[in-house]
């Protein structure tokens, strides 16, 4: 059991809830979603409670998060995209803190479940589609018709654009999910090697140094991936929102 790399992804029922025959139980996944939200909110509120003109350490971190996301959004959508700032900030922080929480041993990684990442991706795509149609009406369909393309080629390009648009929720969710899943499995496998080699006696302990070093290196890599995937998710969100704001590209 301790060596099973899949074990960490199990959903454990903590508080059964059933509505209309559908299982809505409060699980370890729900617990970590709540923890992610609570820790992030409390941290940001506490860090900025001083409202210092000259920021302290914690306030600097909070401001850094704010400006990082603000710059990301502004550079890809321009100033009129700033109405989506709370949305992009929430997405980025939720995914980032969820990913980072997963780096603690015995913690559950909420983003390692395809349904969570897919739901987040659908929130993004639905926001893009609904806002895009509300703002531009039928002109929103211009996203499928790239400018400066000869009409003959449009017969070929437009279906490709449609397919790529439809595959966005899949690629957006699978990218995050697969990265988290694969990283945690690899980490667990190497950590498992350390344990099984270590139980083989002195020679095994000596041999266990190699997978241990690997596990340490992977931990560093996974921290990078945790940030990078949150960043990629947020940047792609910004790019999709930009298309809703300015459909003719």
């Amino acid at each position: 059991m301790s060596n099973d790399p899949i074990h960490q992804f199990h959903i454990v029922n903590l508080f059964p809830v059933e509505i209309g025959g559908v299982d809505f139980s409060f699980t370890n996944s729900s617990l970590f979603m709540v923890a992610t939200v609570a820790v992030t909110t409390v941290f940001l509120m506490m860090a900025t409670s001083g409202r210092g003109l000259v920021p302290g350490r914690w306030q600097s971190v909070a401001e850094m998060c704010y400006e990082f996301v603000a710059n990301m959004l502004r550079s890809s959508t321009g100033t009129d995209g700033m109405r989506f700032f709370p949305f992009v900030f929430s997405i980025f922080m939720f995914v980032l803190i969820g990913n980072l929480f997963g780096m603690f041993p015995y913690f559950f990684t909420i983003t390692s479940h395809i349904i969570v990442t897919f739901a987040l991706a659908m929130i993004v795509i639905m926001t893009v589609v609904i806002y895009g149609v509300m703002r531009n009406g039928l002109r929103f369909l211009n996203v499928f018709v790239p400018a400066d393309v000869p009409p003959l080629l449009l017969i070929l390009v437009t279906p490709i654009e449609i397919i790529s648009f439809l595959s966005r929720p899949v690629s957006l969710s699978v990218r995050l999910f697969a990265n988290m899943l694969a990283g945690h499995i690899t980490l667990k496998v190497f950590a498992g090697f350390v344990v099984s080699l270590g139980s083989l006696g002195p020679l095994g302990v000596a041999g266990a140094v190699l997978p241990l070093a690997m596990a340490i290196a992977l931990t560093a890599l996974e921290l990078l991936v945790a940030f990078l995937q949150a960043y990629v998710f947020a940047v792609l969100t910004c790019m999709y929102l930009n298309e809703a704001l300015h459909p003719s590209h």
């Binding site: 059991m1 099973d4 899949i6 074990h7 992804f9 199990h10 959903i11 454990v12 029922n13 059964p16 809830v17 559908v22 299982d23 809505f24 139980s25 409060f26 699980t27 996944s29 729900s30 979603m33 709540v34 992610t36 939200v37 992030t40 909110t41 940001l44 509120m45 900025t48 409202r51 210092g52 003109l53 920021p55 306030q59 909070a62 401001e63 704010y66 400006e67 700032f85 709370p86 949305f87 900030f89 929430s90 922080m93 939720f94 909420i110 390692s112 479940h113 395809i114 349904i115 969570v116 739901a119 987040l120 929130i123 999910f177 899943l181």
Partner: protein
């Protein structure tokens, strides 16, 4: 590998969590559809709450802090610019006053120099005039004395001639004759 792990998962899940409600039955947990409704619901609740708190509390606060700072910096820079302008104006006024004072001083010096020069000139002219007058008077006096002396010389010469002629000829000439002869000899 996959099948054994599936079996393994089921047994461990069941032994560890008796009230699992069949969550682990789908094998690979992320693809177990039985857990989807719960995850979606709790994601909606937590993410919705998160979005609400971010957009209503956290982000306005951080944005306010950043804006306050930006305003403060801008006003400080404006204040510094104003003070700098004031300083420059003060320096310009000082320099203007200095230049004026210099000009005035040089004017006074020039006027004084001119006044002194004219005064000196006037004095010199007066002294020169005075000296010339004295010189003329002195020359007149010298001429007078010379004339008197010359007249005396004529008289003495006449008397001397008379006396000489008398002692030579025994007979004194008339005064008229001697004076004529003296005049002829002297001119």
């Amino acid at each position: 590998m996959n099948e054994t792990s599936v079996v393994h998962v089921e047994t461990t899940a069941h032994t560890e969590v008796p009230h699992d409600g069949g969550h682990a039955e789908g094998g690979f947990p992320p693809f177990n559809g039985a857990t989807f409704p719960s995850q979606i619901l709790w994601l909606a609740i937590t993410f919705g709450l998160f979005y609400y708190m971010m957009s209503k509390m956290v982000l306005p606060r951080i944005g306010g802090i950043l804006e306050d700072r930006r305003d403060r910096i801008a006003s400080d820079i404006a204040e510094a610019g104003r003070l700098k302008q004031e300083t420059e104006a003060a320096i310009a006024a000082y320099e203007q006053a200095l230049a004026e004072a210099r000009r005035k001083a040089s004017g006074i010096a020039q006027a004084t120099r001119d006044k002194l020069a004219t005064e000196t000139e006037a004095k010199r002219a007066a002294v020169e005039k005075d000296l010339n007058a004295k010189l003329d008077e002195a020359e007149k006096r010298v001429a007078g004395v010379k004339d008197a002396a010359l007249a005396d010389v004529r008289e003495i010469a006449g008397e001397t001639t008379n006396a000489l002629v008398e002692s030579l000829l025994g007979k004194a000439p008339t005064k008229n004759e001697t004076s004529k002869a003296v005049s002829a000899a002297m001119s």
